[in-house]
């Protein structure tokens, strides 16, 4: 199935199948269709890139207000939504774990609490390098043995009455005394011309769909880019001067002979049904371009719940403010695993136990020493170029079709933090509500803060 983007009419498919990410849902004749269950078209370079900033620059628009309405009615958006409704009830929960990845599962083993997650297929079960490991087995066994304490559903955020969960058509209010945010992290599309083309996808999506792709180009500066390249037998392109590999990542590069090339710029075009990538030192045709620039924690449920976060310039990401055991003093909750930036699953599992086990804290501290997260705990901040920057083109915000150039134009005018960028360009106001774009924009502009992540965290 083919969907067109809202303003520019570009052919798009999801870059990741996480619920709530851009283009994961299409509305067809009023019915919600999960795009991840559909076949996707080959890459096509279509549509019309008209900068939204023209609204301000073309004075004519101000004398022809009917034109605004005319433009509005031509936007590529749904005409109807089929009826649905919710029931609302309450539940007593003392400890709530949000997220069903490795660290969430390991935290669940230590509490009598409840776990809620809308996706229980964690990466460790999908990656051929880990799917048969002991750790993967423990995760699988726990999912089975503790199934009565696992809710498959959404965490919708904080409201005046409490925290809201959704399981199918049921809304459930809870008031837990402790929340463990095992919300994991995500890989977001880097900036380059052609970054919105179908089959430019995240590592997670690739792991789920890898049998469909033969020739793959990997983008990224993280250990997970290396792991992706090993699975995909492809090369890794990293922006010049941005290497965020840990010791283990470097060993893997050596061991598997992974080719890592630093690039100044990259451009991707749709050519005869495949993706043609050109960069300063090379080119090639690919079935998919798979990115894992850096693992960005899902900060939005954490910030929404009143916890603080900050920009970590050493990796160009946003991290919840937390201690080594995962405690977040601003809100009195905990964060584990990918939610605190961790990508190796052994460390992730360990971080799921640190809220309950002081001995694990020391072990985790040792483990993190070998990674680029270590300076977060020692406050040794150095600024690196954003791991998302592969060029000066493409889209920054897919839902509202805001381009990199539009963002740079308002940045040059002094609107540098993500909130100001949002309010001048419309970035982060679309379907994903900034779950993707706000982090990329912030990383590129080194903004100290993101936007206010408002409830509900998913459409409700």
């Amino acid at each position: 199935m083919e969907v067109r983007s809202k303003r520019h009419g570009r052919v798009r498919v999801p870059f990741d199948c996480e619920k709530g990410m851009p283009h994961t849902e299409a509305i067809v004749k009023g019915i919600r269709v999960d795009m991840c269950g559909e076949d996707w078209p080959r890459p096509k370079d279509t549509g019309l890139k008209i900068s939204g900033l023209l609204l301000h620059k073309l004075k004519l628009v101000r004398y022809t207000p009917w034109l605004l309405q005319e433009i509005s009615t031509r936007l590529n958006i749904p005409s109807s939504y089929t009826a649905e409704d919710y029931t609302l009830d309450k539940m007593n929960v003392d400890t709530l774990i949000v997220g069903g990845g490795t660290s969430g599962i390991f935290a669940l083993r230590r509490t009598k609490g409840l776990l809620i997650a809308n996706d229980l297929e964690t990466d460790v079960l999908l990656d051929p390098m880990t799917e048969t490991s002991d750790l993967a087995n423990t995760v699988k066994q726990t999912l089975k043995s503790e199934s009565s304490r696992i809710l498959k559903g959404d965490f919708l955020g904080k409201f005046s009455e409490g925290y809201l969960l959704r399981v199918e058509r049921r809304l459930i209010l809870v008031n837990p005394s402790k929340i463990i945010f095992a919300t994991g992290g995500r890989y977001l599309p880097p900036i380059f011309e052609g970054n919105d083309l179908p089959h430019v996808i995240s590592r997670r999506l690739y792991l789920r769909r890898r049998k469909r792709y033969n020739k793959v180009l990997v983008l990224g500066s993280s250990d997970d880019a290396v792991r992706t390249a090993i699975v995909a037998k492809g090369k890794v392109l990293t922006p010049e001067g941005v290497k965020l590999f840990s010791r283990r990542g470097l060993e893997l590069i050596e061991e598997h002979g992974v080719e890592v090339e630093e690039v100044k710029w990259l451009r991707v075009k749709a050519k005869s049904e495949s993706l043609e990538a050109t960069w300063d030192k090379g080119q090639g045709k690919f079935d998919a371009i798979v990115f894992s620039p850096v693992k960005q924690p899902r900060v939005e449920p954490i910030a929404n719940s009143g916890c603080a976060y900050k920009f970590y310039p050493n990796m160009g990401i946003y991290l919840p403010e937390h201690d080594m055991d995962g405690y977040m003093k601003e809100c009195n909750h905990y964060v584990t695993g990918g939610g605190r930036g961790i990508w190796w699953e052994e460390l992730s599992a360990l971080s799921g136990t640190t809220p309950f086990d002081p001995e694990a804290v020391q072990q985790l501290k040792e483990g993190l020493k070998e990674t680029t997260l270590r300076q977060y705990y020692t406050n040794d901040f150095i600024t690196v170029k954003s791991p998302y920057l592969y060029g000066e083109g493409g889209y920054m915000c897919l839902c509202e079709d805001v381009t990199y150039e539009d963002i740079m134009e308002v940045v040059r005018k002094g609107y540098v933090d993500v909130e100001a960028i949002k309010r001048t360009t419309g970035l982060a106001t679309g379907m994903c509500q900034g779950k993707a774009c706000s982090y990329i924009a912030g990383s590129v502009t080194r903004s100290n803060s993101l936007i206010t992540f408002r409830s509900p965290l998913l459409t409700m």
Partner: protein, 367 residues
């Protein structure tokens, strides 16, 4: 003249904008959070001529054309568009209020008309409606940031909370921010819902109180709800980017609190909207936020100064739920008053002294 403006929302920015136009070059703005943080960045962006009192209708008859003029001049386009306001007369109270107001509006030359609601394709109900076609919409951020963009190189923005006014010999000489005194000949308080709080801290009674309100936006739906539509339960309208924006009409106790939203109102808004709008039967909300209406005892704003205050102290605040649309015009009136000593008739009508003199305005249409 050294002018310090407290609060960088729509009204503060507009005052600065008009002072800069007059050539005043020593302007500082004190903002506790960020430009547009308060109600200026949280409202639904609508304008209207239709108020319950003659005073406010007449103010709108000057203020709204001024807003529309500014829409054409600013470096950002505030997307001003005539959309109308549409009242669904679904209970006796609204019928009564609108019928009374209709004669005032007609005599003021801004009359609307009664018509069946199903003249509007998007509505699913069989009631009587009232359309005020003169009203419309704008983009609140583009309006205030447009004013800011025009003057940002001519004003100093200080991030911090204004604490104490410094007065000497009955005159304002400065204001304390971040532990130090900013010298000033004029301090203009445009703190919106925080105005009463600030003034009280300085021993002056200005009756502006916050009232928390929630706003929701939905997923995209093809543009159809052109007028701002008001039922007894909710009000709502389409934005040009396809969302439906609106809120719940209910009484909320006044006071500062957590700026969150409630599950109850979120569901109430969604359910009512689904029952009213064709095609929106299963529409969901994307997000909600809350902010403050800035309430006065007569639901009308306060502008100017009181004879009992120190010289050089001015206030422009207390616009209930209709502050954004008036920010351009109010800033102009205030700038004329501060820079040139010109007293517009509205500075008398909406004077802070009216509460002592018991000349209340009795505005009842707060949306």
């Amino acid at each position: 003249m050294r002018v310090v403006i407290l609060g960088a929302g729509g009204h503060g920015l507009s005052l600065a904008y008009h002072l800069v136009k007059k050539g005043i070059n020593d302007i500082s703005m004190v903002e506790a959070k960020r430009i547009n943080y308060g109600s200026s960045g949280r409202n639904a962006g609508r304008y209207r001529y239709h108020f319950y009192t003659k005073e406010n209708v007449e103010f709108a008859k000057e203020g709204i054309p001024y807003l529309l003029k500014l829409c054409k001049d600013l470096p950002l386009n505030p997307l001003c568009m005539k959309t109308g306001y549409l009242w669904i007369l679904d209970d006796e109270k609204s019928k009564d209020v609108i019928s009374r107001a209709h004669s005032l509006w007609s005599s003021e030359g801004v009359g609307g008309k009664f018509l069946p609601c199903n003249d509007f394709d998007f509505l699913k109900i069989e009631e009587e409606c009232y359309l005020a076609p003169q009203d419309g919409s704008f983009h609140h951020d583009y309006l205030s940031l447009g004013m800011y963009e025009a003057i940002k190189d001519h004003v100093k923005v200080i991030i911090g909370e204004a604490m104490r006014l410094k007065v000497s010999g009955g005159k304002i000489v400065g204001v304390e921010v971040n532990g130090s005194i900013i010298p000033a000949d004029v301090v203009a308080v445009t703190l919106g819902a925080w105005t009463g709080h600030f003034m009280k801290r300085n021993g002056i009674e200005v009756p502006v109180e916050p009232e928390k309100k929630e706003i929701f936006v939905t997923e995209d739906l093809k543009f159809r709800v052109k007028p701002l539509t008001i039922s007894k339960r909710i009000y709502f309208s389409h934005t040009l980017k396809g969302e439906i924006i609106g809120g719940v009409e209910d009484e909320v106790p006044r006071g500062f609190g957590e700026l969150d939203i409630s599950v109850e109102r979120s569901l109430s808004f969604t359910r009512t909207l689904r029952s009213l709008v064709k095609g929106a039967e299963g529409i969901r909300i994307l997000r909600g936020w809350s902010g403050y209406y800035e309430m006065t005892p007569d639901h009308s704003h306060i502008m100017g100064f009181s004879d009992s205050w120190p010289d050089g102290l001015y206030v422009d605040a207390g616009y209930s739920g209709h502050g954004m649309m008036f920010s351009p015009y109010s800033g102009k009136i205030m700038a004329d008053l501060i820079a040139d000593g010109v007293k517009n008739k509205f500075t008398k009508i909406f004077s802070p002294q009216r509460f002592e003199e018991n000349k209340l305005i009795d505005e009842r249409m707060v949306i």
